[in-house]
Amino acid sequence: MRSTPTMTDAPVLLSLQNITKRFGALTANDGISLDLHRGKILALLGENGAGKTTLMNILFGHYVQDEGDVQVLSKGGLTALPPGSPGAALKAGIGMVHQHFTLAENLSGLANIRLGTEPLLSFGREGAARAKVQKIIAESGLDVDLDRRVADLTVGEKQRIEILKALYRDAKVLILDEPTAVLTPQEADGLFVVLRRLAANGLGVIFISHKLGEVLAVSHRILVLRGGKKAGELVTANADRRAIADLMVGKAVAAVVRTPASPGEVLFALENVSLHGAGGRSLSGVDLKLRAGEVVGLAGVSGNGQSGIAALISGLAVPTGGTMRLYGETVTRADPRALVANGVARMPEDRQHDGVVGTMSVADNIAIEEVRSAAFSKMGFLDRKAMRDRATAAIAGYDVRCQGPDAEARLLSGGNVQKLILARVLERGPRVILANQPTRGLDVGAQAEVHRRILAARDRGAAVLVISEDLDELFALADRFVVVRAGELHDAGPSEGLDRGTIGLMMAGQSHARAEMAS
């Protein structure tokens, strides 16, 4: 199972040996070993909860392993890294881009990059730092405004800051944890170009993902994890897609089939709606109709008004102009609770942050939107048993992997949080569903499951709006497309007869692309 002969030419930069880590009863990593060679991209592939992130956190010193060694190439050959010391990992040339960014949002991008790289009491080093970062930007194409507060950057820009942080420290090994989960397809392609260029210059890259396609596209070697164990290791050039998928999931994944829709009455409508808001939230003159039994796919480059539309449907904002109607009645007050009670289901974009309360239990999070309803309360008191029963059923029915209804939600991986949210909102039988980036960061199995659930809800008669940066996902789900650009919404018509190119052009601002192409 060691690397093939062609791989031995380049020296090993990093070696993990028999890493084991347990969280309570859960063994997240079980005797995992791997080697990373200079100039190579190693993909770490596995479903959510397979132990990928845990392994990398050990490597970077965020967690302390229970058993095993991390060895890094230094002058005298491979030497073991002291466990639990991010400082030592950094010094050894390991740079990590986390799935959840580790940025101070009150500081500028440049400040985040400089953080910890200079003597604490020194002055006037900003100029030199800026010059070095700009050189890296020029070489790598990681373009970003260095002086804006990180809080005001988009997710994609924050990721670029994270990568720059590692490169700024002259990393020998770059670890990226689910880097494409937050990117548009175009941005992801750009990232792959950057990674290949960096590898060609001698960097070793570990690319963590659950997306087979991009792993095959970008890596030299693939290591598959399943259930905390190494399920297989192969050279990408010789790899077979089918075989890897089976290694990863342990069983075959059935494709989701979308049957033709039969749209009914309009359940939710925006009529000439405008919204004033900061940070890509503004809308102007937006018309949108969501019909029963139909999925509308909202495409667009991130930050063009998606969050405004999501805020309206979620009850977090009311239009500053125009009319918003739910079941024909005008909504004039931002009242999330009333919307939820009236059958609106919301899957927020940032599910960890807006979707669950991390320090509350799975059961609490399942019940949180309807604690006042008779289902979960008795004479004004919480019905703990009902909440736990619902949670137990949800854990089983939606395959939420956790230690039980009492586990804290923050301990769940991203995919399992999304399943928890699905269980919470779909079990109520909602009539209008907002699915904002519903499978961002999810693996193949979980993705298919979410898609199946959404389509099932549609077939039951729900009106669904899917907002996604993943065009494949929109084509899998949507019966009809709308494209948002600069706060304006353009109707792209039924998904039959549309292709990625047309949508891409509309996203880029050519709203009449369809007509031009037809003529």
């Binding site: 950094l90 986390h98 580790t102 009150n106 500081l107 009491l121």
Partner: protein, 315 residues
């Protein structure tokens, strides 16, 4: 109206405002440093008492005025270290620990005073700091007596405002402190010690708070009384919010409060026969609350304030 102009037009009023503001400047800077690093330090009220007591006692026992200042800062640092051990290292509730520190530091100070001076009935006096003249500046008409005839500790407080701003905004250390109060993970990911930064910030911040107390016994007065701190620490906690955690605005807030207080004393002297004295005493606090209401709604709290950091756990 005439009364108002009489008061605002007197150099004496402005000198008093700055004098009253001095302990608050120390205190609010100290609280600001702690909170920027993510730690609320409600021990401030007690640390004021400890600083007032320790500094005064050191001078009384012959340490010299600046020796007393140093001892006061050390006493503050010591209680700061205790607060940091409890809240940063052990991750206990910052509210509970802070209030505990206030009770402890106050009691220990009173106890020490009583034990050190068992036989005195009236508080003994020391030779306190005297106003110094700055050649040239102090002789300016109006401005001179208003601004430049203060004791050395007042000038020290102003120097600290600049120093804290400089460190916070112009050094990598300041960068790290601001980062650790916003997202400790960002600091750890860059190889800095979350614990080290926070403990350091709380210790230094607490030392500054103690200087606020020392000003009371070594500059404003020349003796130690029970109850002399009288809520100044709590005012500082409010002023930090008012200041949006910025040193410059912290100075402004302290001066504003000092001005309110100086104003009410003078107003009381002028029209005290008509309005009960308590109304005037209430005024600066009332105005602080009004100012807070105007500012605090938009307050940009350090995001990690009150959140303990535990390494090796999932976050």
């Amino acid at each position: 109206m005439d009364v108002l102009f009489d008061i605002l037009g007197s150099a004496n009023f402005w000198a008093a405002a700055i004098r009253i503001a001095t302990p608050l400047i120390f205190g609010v800077l100290g609280a600001l440093i702690c909170e920027r690093a993510g730690v609320l330090n409600l021990g401030i009220e007690g640390i004021f008492v400890a600083g007032a007591m320790a500094g005064w006692l050191a001078v009384y026992l012959g340490a010299g005025l600046w020796g007393g200042v140093l001892i006061a800062a050390l006493a503050g640092a010591l209680f700061g270290l205790l607060h940091a051990l409890l809240t940063v290292i052990l991750g206990l509730s910052q509210h509970v620990s802070g209030i505990g520190i206030t009770l402890l530091a106050t009691s220990v100070s009173y106890f020490t005073y009583r034990t050190a001076l068992p036989d005195v009935s009236s508080p003994p006096r020391i030779a306190a700091f005297q106003p110094v003249s700055i050649p040239g500046l102090s002789d300016l008409p109006f401005i001179g007596p208003a601004l430049f005839q203060q004791t050395p500790l007042t000038f020290l407080a102003l120097v600290f405002v600049a120093l804290v701003a400089l460190v916070l905004y112009r050094t990598p250390l300041g960068l790290a402190i601001r980062a650790v109060g916003d997202n400790p993970a960002s600091v750890e990911a860059q190889g800095l010690s979350v614990m080290g930064l926070r403990v350091g910030a709380v210790v230094v911040g607490s030392a500054l708070m103690a200087l606020g107390g020392a000003f009371l016994t070594m500059s404003a007065f020349d003796a130690f009384f029970f109850g002399m701190v009288n809520g100044r620490g709590w005012i500082c906690i409010a002023l930090v919010v008012f200041a949006s955690w910025q040193p410059g605005k912290a100075l402004l807030g302290a001066l504003l409060f000092g001005a309110f207080d100086a104003f009410q004393i003078r107003l009381q002297a002028q029209i005290g026969q008509v309005v009960p004295g308590q109304v005037f005493l209430m005024m600066p606090y009332l105005l602080s609350i009004v100012a807070l209401i105007l500012v605090a709604r938009r307050a940009d709290y350090p995001r990690a304030l009150l959140q303990p950091w535990t390494k090796g756990q999932r976050h």
